[in-house]
């Protein structure tokens, strides 16, 4: 009976009162007491999250983890990465095994809804679309040429459903070969078991960059779907979701205002010296209490930018034209340049 009593009382004891910050977040309290952020990433996708030869993680998704760690803990290196496949990712997030999912996850209704996966999505960090990659030598020019052919696809992804929908629309019969991890999927494709592999176009480009003969594979022009890839947290902790959302908006706002990793120190001294720069002073935490409202340190935006640079720098470094992936900014430009990257006002 003592054991029983302990079991019954255990959860009550864990609900300790928060400190006086006014922001109630068990998750943020847990991350702060642990001293590091546990971030779920894909781990095998060049440009997004990939383990470099020296053992360090790099990529756009990884930079999001670093920026959030810098904003919350003041140190971008305090991140523990967990590689998750598409099927594990939501269970890992829901069970609290990871604090944050930064793993090229498409935001959808059923994933967001409380009656579905119950996630809370942060701002989209990459607007993508589903594409199809085929060997150039196969002579396949469009989806209709894939009739009766096996197509490799990773199971448990929106890709799988989009493919089924699109092929049903076109009335094209095909064989979906589903694999649990992206490595298996691309191994089967490179083993020529399927004549095509379908995924987000960014992922296809990323994987192709690691192929031995990248030029022998081409993306079909058709874009099958909208894939807004967004970081996510559980929707049971709104304060943590807000902190996450605004840490990422800060990176986008920084690009809009021309703050970079290199000049943010100078901008901070400038803001401190000049009381007329009210927007910048509030943004960098010189005045106001934006950080406190979110339950973050007042200089969270400064720390995040200092750690990974602004959104444009993150994009260029990991996936942009100068990187191995050679992706154009396209719709991932700032709204002022006609793109979709838009941070709401820091007010």
């Amino acid at each position: 009976m003592l054991v029983l009593a302990a079991l019954l009382l255990g959860p009550l004891a864990a609900c300790a009162p928060e400190d006086g910050s006014g922001v109630q977040s068990q998750k943020m309290a847990a991350i702060q007491s642990r001293g590091k952020l546990i971030c779920g990433v894909e781990g095998t996708l060049p440009g997004f999250s990939f383990v470099e030869p020296d053992g360090r993680y790099s990529g756009l998704d990884v930079d999001v983890c670093k920026a959030v760690a810098a904003a919350l803990l003041g140190d971008a290196s305090k991140v523990e990465y967990r590689n998750l496949n598409s099927s594990e990712r939501f269970a890992a997030l829901a069970s609290g095994e990871v604090d944050l999912l930064s793993r090229n996850t498409t935001e959808t209704l059923s994933r967001d809804a409380a009656g579905g996966n119950g996630l809370s999505f942060a701002p989209t960090v990459f607007y993508d679309g589903q594409g199809v990659m085929v060997p150039v030598a196969s002579g396949i020019k469009g989806l209709k040429d894939l009739a009766g052919k096996p197509i490799c696809v990773e199971s448990g992804t929106t890709t799988e459903l989009n493919l089924a929908d699109r092929m049903r629309e076109l009335n094209v019969a095909y064989t979906p070969l589903k694999f649990q991890t992206s490595d298996q999927t691309y191994a089967a494709y490179l083993g020529a078991r399927c004549v095509a592999v379908t995924s987000d176009r960014s992922q296809l480009a990323g994987k192709r960059s690691s192929f031995p003969n990248a030029d022998a594979h081409a993306l079909l022009p058709e874009v099958m779907s909208k894939e807004p890839l967004s970081p996510a947290s559980v929707n049971s902790d709104p304060a943590w979701a807000d902190a996450l959302r605004w840490s990422i908006y800060a990176l986008m706002q920084a690009e809009e205002w021309g703050l970079t990793q290199a000049n943010v120190d100078a901008k901070l001294s400038e803001a401190k010296a000049n009381p007329n720069l009210a927007d910048l002073r509030r943004f960098l935490g010189v005045e106001g209490d934006f950080g406190k409202q979110l339950g973050l340190p007042s200089d969270f935006a400064f720390k995040a930018i200092k750690a990974v640079g602004n959104y444009g720098e993150m994009f260029d470094r990991n996936v942009g034209p100068a990187s191995k992936l050679k992706l154009e900014r396209g719709i991932n430009r700032q709204w002022k340049e006609g793109g979709l990257i838009y941070a709401p006002p820091f007010r």
Binding site: L4, F90, G115, Q180, A192
Partner: protein
Amino acid sequence: MGSNLTPPQLRRGGLNGGDNPGLSQPPWWRNRLLIPWLVQALVGFVLLLLVAFLLGNLVRNLTAAGLLLSWRWLGQPAGFDIAESVLPFQAEMPYWRGLLAGLGNTLRAVSCGLIGATVVGTLAGMANFSSNGLLRRLVRVYVELVRNIPLLLQLVFWYFVVFLSLPNGLAALQGPGVVLAKSGLYLAGFHNGLHWVGPQLVNDVWQAPLRLSVEFCALLVGLVVYSGAYIAEVVRGGIASVPAGQWEAASSLGLGWLASIRHVVIPQALPVIVPGLNTQYISLAKNSSLAVAVGYADLYAVAETTLNQTGRAVEVIILLLGTYLVLDLLISALMNALNQFVRIKER
């Protein structure tokens, strides 16, 4: 100490109390009949409380998370395709049809695997007692090699290394009535009634009355080779349990090796072999869920996709657990019946 040696019946006042009306009954806490029952009842009660607490906890937390068990999703359209299926399935059919199709695929792999592994295991087990030293050593190498490598690795080996390096088209391996290509195993069979048709190459694609996908072949070969090694050991143990005198008696009757093992040794070894086989058969059924690693759409693979699309993790896992439990209990019941049948009947 002396009292401990008295037969228990004599000390149970309740039983022989009638013979000694003068003796008073022992108090209830020294009643040897009552106390064990009380202890059992108490333990049972605590166990029930614990289970009730855990279940209540589950339901409470699931309700709080808005995830209370619901089965309505089973009737919704699945929206994904399955590469191959014994039962007909299309994307617009409901989830339960998809899961049923997956179960059909699992049963196909398990039933073929059971037969194959039994044949391989029995032959290899018998070969341990062959007079041919080379054969004996080859069997030892097979058993030791296969038993000591994880099944997942073996499946990945069979699929990615062996089957995916097969040639396609004209270069495929061809035999009378059978063609083995990267796209599958093609077998001759009856077509449109009584026409015996072999595999034919049409537009560089093989066609035949019976086609097995390489995913199925890789899974089947992997399971047969792996379980075959264990069954070989069970068979070897069974045969070794038959006294050497039986072999000598058989040969003194003029029976050859095969006749001795078939008519004298195996009938006596079966009662030892069958319980061991039961364990191996159950393992094989459970191991079939590794099919997802080689892209075969078994129950587990379909359930995983379903779980991802619906977000109904608890329900899907309960379904999976229940199905594999029933499958294994069925195998076990059949094997127990067989065990009764092969038992040595003492006359």
